[in-house]
Symmetry: C2
Subunit: 171 residues, 2 copies
């Protein structure tokens, strides 16, 4: 079903998608889709979340500061792209119970936890997970959703710098 949505989107554009079209492409009846997803928006939400799933672990550059910065710059670039913005909106729109949104947030948390796990093994001082979510991830997502416009990589770097200067626990 996910492949059918992706193919049709590439061929005909997102606005042309309908449940009968997706069903025909996937070789199922429309009622199969309605039973499993409720409606087109929920199916699109599910497909969007799947596309927002990170494909690999964050890069290991040897220090927590560099790892976080590299991850944040990548995250901002992907999420603020036209495709990224449209996936985030689809994920939030087709999400009656908030579970898609929770999955999106969990992806970011998992990536950050990998980086913080490495920091612990290297015995580095690192910001807390919640601090990174509130003061690096949240500002990026807020601007992507509420203040449309070009997002510069420098914005991600500045947030990381602020957290490392202002929020680091004492050694």
């Amino acid at each position: 079903m996910h492949a059918a949505v992706r193919e049709l989107e590439a061929e005909a554009g997102r606005d042309a998608l309908t449940v009968p079209l997706v069903a025909a492409r996937a070789g199922v009846t429309p009622s199969t889709i309605y039973r499993r997803w409720g409606d087109l928006q929920e199916l699109l939400g599910d497909v969007a979340v799947e596309r927002l799933r990170p494909e690999s672990d964050p890069a290991d550059l040897g220090s927590v500061r560099e790892d976080i910065e590299h991850w944040a710059v990548d995250f901002l670039e992907e999420m603020s792209s036209p495709a990224g913005r449209s996936y985030i909106r689809d994920a939030l729109a087709g999400d009656p119970d908030g579970s898609n949104a929770g999955r999106c947030s969990a992806y970011a948390v998992e990536q950050i936890e990998i980086i913080l796990g490495r920091a612990e093994r290297r015995k580095e001082i690192a910001p807390a997970l919640d601090v990174l979510v509130d003061h690096v991830v949240a500002p990026m997502m807020y601007r992507i959703l509420f203040r449309p416009g070009l997002m510069e990589a420098q914005y991600a770097r500045d947030l990381v710098t602020a957290v490392f200067y202002r929020f680091l626990p004492l050694p």
Copy 2:
């Protein structure tokens, strides 16, 4: 049109809304709605943004710290309520060009600017507007959208405390 949507929502629930129903209640033809809003989702987005508009200036409690804290606690309470969450989602969903999201963000900025204007007249040291947006507003909105669950007023207070301890410019 906004009144028609509000009445029907109260009577029949949000999921029962259709363009012909809203048109009939408002005494117009459905094509009037399609011409002006495109579809039901855009109309609901417009109505939602209107409801998110603050009804009054933030309280003046005599100090910038108290004014920001009071505003943030109120904002979190309103936005994280079931009604607030559904308005935010409607605003983001029925928003093909991102203008609704921009209006939501502008409302918060205007309220904070009023508080910062008072601080300036009182000659108080205050955090910058962008710092308050990135480190108080954004974390609250991120949790409301991506980590559904109960939001405690203490969370808003802790964000304000962090900004006043960690981000205040030097006198």
